[in-house]
Every structure is written in structure tokens, then in C-alpha cells.
Symmetry: C2
Subunit: 383 residues, 2 copies
């Protein structure tokens, strides 16, 4: 990549580096897919948790967007995003914050999958006279929550409660989280088809009973990139496609060279007879995520690159304590441990970008655009 270098030596390690050329290419790739599939893209902003990242991901637009916490919704609403879906099942205690965000001028919608939640939302709408937009979560793959599409009684009961209470039943939604566990586009396409079938079946049930159900929302990064046919679907959600990571590379959704996020670290010691290089990136900087442990190639706590981002073959961060990472050659490889003195800098590609990014307060930007190169983009955390 033709990239100006930022002065890495001035950075306190460990810290996050974000390569905007890779980020922009990843964003463009899914944007083109959504266009070709004829659906609207609703990017999940939980990976970046940054207004600056959101500007790139949303093409400087005002949405639609997806979030995983009300803190994210508050941040992005304040930054001008006008259409946000909070895609975690609603707790009744959170409805006042939802209303406050809506009153600030953002069309925030919520998710639920039970009669109990529908009752709470209906009561709140009746009490306040506010029409909260709701998506009903549908279970497409047994991964987590959601009403079964084969349970029309519950689906219709929820819809009726919402309507009676004055809420807006905006549509149905699913997320095939099990797609993370299978490898290759064909397997991901099968989960994408499960998402499509589950949501369009549920939407048909609702429409037959007279509910408009305008939104049919599906997605995950693997299914978004695997989907072949989204007939009947109106929007596609995905999050980690922006940064990508080793888990996504391990299931064939991206290549290692697409990963936009890395952790800059400094060598702080050696145990040469054991084949160890110690660095100042432990699990506090990388997270405890070991998502590649169950994949064909276990990447430990991350794949080691030189300071310019080139993968050093067979070198992984194999063990992590709070502030120590232990780099070693992959078990079974006869590669040589490189000779890196104390003070040398390296980059680590993460297993799971959402988890690794969450350990940091912001991104140091690596960009070919001299106006952006070296910038610091803050992240938010908390709920």
C-alpha cells in the first residue's frame, strides 16, 4: 500500500492502529453487494463505536444505522444520525432513555421478542402518547433470541399488543449468529437463506393478519457477504465487515490483508531458549477473545506483523497476561523466531475486532490522506 508513515515511535504502546484504506475498501465492498442485492444497508456501528468511523461507514449520511447500546444511540444521534435501530432486546427500564433519544430528533427503533416486552412497550406508548417503532426479533438459526417463524400465535399476539398500545410495528428482524461457525461462501449463503426464509415467513404471517410490516431486516457479516438472493428482504445489517479480523478471515469472509485494525506493541523482553518474545500487549490491549481457538488455524491472541503491517509468517501472540503478550512461532512450524531487540515495535492483528477495539479509547489513523494520517479518532464505551 502506498501509505505515508505516521511516526509510530511517538505513540504510547499498546495502542490501536486503524488503516483507513482497508476500512474504506471493506465498506465499499459491502455497499456494492447491498446495491447488487437490491437492499438497503444498515451498518452496525458497535464495531467502530466512533463518530469518525461512522462518517466513513455511513458515507457521511444520517443513517440508517444499527447500535448495540443506548450510549451508542445517544452518541450517534447527537452526531446527526437520524435513523438508528437498537438491536438488543429491550429491557422495560430502558424505555425512558429510548424516548429521550427519539425526542432529540432521532428515529430510534427497538427490538423485542416476547409478550412481556410488548406489554411494557405498549404501556409506555399509552402513558406517554409516543409511538415507539418496534421490530420483532425472529429466530432463524437457534442462535440466541427471537420468536420462531413457526409460532404465528406469539407473533400475532405481540403485534396486537403493540398496535393496541399505540406502538408502531415496523417490521421483523433476524441475525444468524451461527453463521460465524461455518466456513466458506456456500455455507454462509445457506444461513443467509435461513435468515430470508424466517423473516419473510414471519412478515407474511403478520401481513395476512393486516399488519403492514414494512421492514424485513437480516444480517451478519458472513451472511451479508454470502447472500445470493434477498427477495422479500428490505435491509441488511452487518458490523465487523468494516474492520474485519482473524475470525472472519478464518471462515473465508475476508483475507488477512483486509484487516484494518491492529494493535501496536513494543518488545519488552525475551526468553530465547523457550522461543519467546515478550511484548507490552497483553489481554488488556487485545481482549481475552480467543475466537480462532475453535477454527482450523488457531491464531492464539493474534497474528504478528512488522510495524508496517506485513504479516511475519508463522508468528503468533500465543499467550497473554494482563499487560504481557508472549510471541512465539506457531506450534509445528520450523520458522525461525526473528531477532527483535527490546524497544522494537510490532503490530498484532486481532481475533475479534469488536472485542479488541473495546479495550481502547480510540484509534490512531494510518492513511494515505495526509489530512487524516496520524489523526486520533476517539471511541466510546459503556452503556
Amino acid at each position: 500500500m502506498a501509505q505515508e508513515k505516521i511516526d509510530f515511535t511517538s505513540l504510547e504502546t499498546p495502542c490501536l492502529l486503524l488503516d483507513t484504506a482497508r476500512l474504506e475498501a471493506n465498506v465499499a465492498r459491502l455497499r456494492a453487494r447491498a446495491k447488487a442485492l437490491g437492499v438497503q444497508l444498515r451498518p452496525h456501528l458497535k464495531t467502530g463505536k466512533s463518530v469518525d468511523v461512522a462518517r466513513l461507514v455511513l458515507d457521511r449520511g444520517t443513517g440508517p444505522a444499527t447500535v448495540s447500546t443506548l450510549s451508542e444511540a445517544e452518541l450517534f444521534a447527537k452526531a446527526g444520525v437520524r435513523d438508528i435501530l437498537y438491536a438488543v432486546g429491550i429491557a422495560p427500564q430502558k424505555l425512558n432513555r429510548v424516548l429521550a433519544i427519539r425526542e432529540s430528533g432521532c428515529d430510534l427503533s427497538i427490538l423485542l421478542d416476547s409478550v412481556g416486552q410488548a406489554d411494557a412497550v405498549a404501556t409506555k406508548c399509552t402513558e406517554t402518547g409516543q409511538e415507539i417503532p418496534v421490530l420483532i426479533e425472529i429466530d432463524s438459526d437457534g442462535h440466541r433470541g427471537g420468536v420462531s417463524p413457526q409460532d404465528p400465535a406469539t407473533l400475532l399476539q405481540i403485534a396486537e399488543i403493540l398496535e393496541r398500545g399505540g406502538a408502531e410495528l415496523r417490521g421483523v428482524l433476524t441475525h444468524a449468529g451461527e453463521s460465524y461457525g461455518v466456513v466458506g461462501r456456500e455455507a454462509h449463503a445457506e444461513f443467509a437463506e435461513l435468515e430470508r426464509l424466517a423473516t419473510t415467513t414471519a412478515a407474511a404471517t403478520l401481513r395476512r393478519a393486516g399488519f403492514a410490516c414494512p421492514v424485513v431486516s437480516v444480517g451478519s457479516t458472513p451472511t451479508a457477504h454470502g447472500a445470493q438472493n434477498l427477495d422479500g428482504v428490505t435491509e441488511l445489517r452487518a458490523g465487523v465487515y468494516t474492520f474485519f479480523d482473524l475470525v472472519m478471515a478464518g471462515i473465508g469472509v475476508c483475507s488477512v490483508e483486509d484487516i484494518a485494525l491492529s494493535v501496536l506493541t513494543t518488545v519488552i523482553g525475551h526468553q530465547k531458549e523457550k522461543g519467546w518474545i515478550l511484548v507490552d500487549a497483553g489481554w488488556m490491549a487485545l481482549s481475552r477473545d480467543r475466537g480462532t481457538a475453535s477454527q482450523a488455524v488457531d491464531q492464539g491472541y493474534g497474528l504478528v506483523c512488522d510495524v508496517d503491517g506485513r504479516v511475519i509468517p508463522e508468528l503468533i501472540l500465543g499467550a497473554a497476561n494482563q499487560e504481557h503478550g508472549t510471541i512465539s512461532v506457531r506450534v509445528g512450524s520450523d520458522a525461525q523466531l526473528p531477532d527483535l531487540p527490546v524497544g522494537a515495535q510490532l503490530r498484532i492483528l486481532p481475533n475479534h475486532a469488536c472485542a479488541t477495539a473495546a479495550q481502547h479509547k480510540g484509534y490512531h489513523i494510518v492513511s494515505s490522506d495526509s489530512a487524516t494520517n496520524g489523526a486520533y479518532w476517539p471511541r466510546i464505551s459503556g452503556w
Copy 2:
């Protein structure tokens, strides 16, 4: 426990709860042990990362203390702690920050285990005329870094470089991190003895060559609680003994009832036919730490308690996504899943207190002292 209740329903979940009665009992327990063993306690503040927690842990004193990042050192120095050890091998790039903290009036000491680091420190001391205090890390159990106590040549070479450069060789230090992997006081006592032997051997080598080596520092929570004899040792370090967690309970260092830290969470859904209760504490709130996975009893992502902190038998948070936790009865148990409506609150005891606490910005305090009960104690993060 005779405890006033705080109004948990007013808290945004997920959030951290810290029970100060348990914290104070844990602190008193190790303080009494150190006194009985005749050594000074140097608490590790990396678990709490909070000035308020540090006040309790340090008995409102000014140290000694241990930290894992220079950000912690800066925070605690500013709060009046006057004797701090930064217990991660020093990177040469960090020496200017070390000097700035020392110039603020805090006696900050550093750790190293190589000739390369000693050269960098000596050069910095010579250049600046500042006498940086240094401990040499000793490898007692093959866990991570450290000079072997059987390698007097390296040990003496480091000491000579430091002395020539005008640094202060303050002593030797070890941490038997492998003690986390063994169960019971006898096994922990064996690692404590490894720590003692390694450091006193190294100290003797240095003293025979004319280096004073006043400090002989050992410790980890298991070895601190297991040690039977610390002859020749001057100080004991430990961190997670303050909060404790399921990993420590699993190796017999504490009971589950000693765990001072929990995550307050709210029920957001059910999949009754699967035996699942969904809550709003996922790995973002609990961390990805699965430290009990390799123990006799795998606690998943945490043990479930009612809102008052009483363990609900056989109930664990078995699976976690970013903002979703899936609670289920432990595999093999015939316990019933409790009937908990959407909106009900629970507490989750963490696998690893350091990792779980790091996912949050502060602690909501549960205390029998009405002046403290309900208080919010901020934490720091970053490097």
C-alpha cells in the same frame, strides 16, 4: 450480610457492583498474613484501578503499591501515593514518562530482565543525572519473563551496567504466575517457596558481588495466601485478593462468598424450550475471560446470583455475545430454571475480576456504611 440496599432499579444495566464489606474483609485477611509472615505488603492496584479502592487497599496510606501501567502510576501518584512499582518490564520509550512521574514527587521504581533494558536505563540515567530505581525480574517458575537465578553472569552484568550508569539497583522481584494453575494451599505454598528460593538466591548472588539489593519482592494472590515461610523476602505483592473471583475460588484461595465484584444485569428474554434466560450482560460487560474453563468446575462466563448477591444454585451465564448473555442450568444438573420475568435483575460473579472490571468505567458501591452505600467510584483505563 447486614447491608442497606441501594436502589438497583435506578442503575443502568449492565454495571459493576462492588461490595465493600467483602473488599474490606479480603484486604484485612492478606494484611494480617503479611504481618504474620513479617513482610511488607505492596498491593497491586491493577485490579481496582481506582483511587477510592486504593484508599481502602492502602489503608489510606501513601504506599507501597504496585501498578501495571504508567497511566495507573500517574493516577495514583497524583492521588498521593509516594512509593509505586511499575511491575511490567520497561520499554526504553517509556523512560521519559517514568522520569516525569518521579519528578512529581513519587518514588516510582521499574522492572527489567535484560542487558538491553539495563543499557537503555543506564543511558537515560547518565543523560539526565537521575537515579532511576530498578528491580531485576527473576524467573521462579518458567511462567513469563525474568533472569534465571541460575544465571549469575546475566544478573551481575545487568547490575554492573545499572551501577555504572548511575541507576539504583533496588532489588529483585518474581511472580509465580503458574501458581494460578494449581489447587489448594499446599500447592500454592510450593510456588511461594519457588518464589522465595529464586529471589533469595539471586539476591545472594548480587550481594556477594557487592550490590546491596535491599528489596526482595515476591508474590501473586495464590502464593501470598499460600506462603508458609518468607525468610529473606522483604515484600509481598498481590492484586486480585482484593476483589477475588471464580478463578481464585476454583483453586481454593477464597470462597464464592468472598467475591466482592459482580455485574448487575437485567433479563431481556427467554427461550424456554432451550432452558435459556437472556440478559443484557454479554462479553462486553463480563469480558471474554473464560478462566474457569480449564478448572474442575467450568463457570461459563460467570455464576448467577439474585439481586441481593445470593448464588442461585447451578445457574451460570453459559454463553455470551457482545451485549447478550445466555443463562442456563449447568450441564448435567437437574436444577430448575427459575421463573424470572423480563426486567428482573440478577448479579453475575466474574471469572476474572481484573478482566471484568476493565470493561467498565466505575463501581456502584454496596456498603453497610450509609455514607458510602450507593456511591460511584470511577476507574481508569488505558496506558
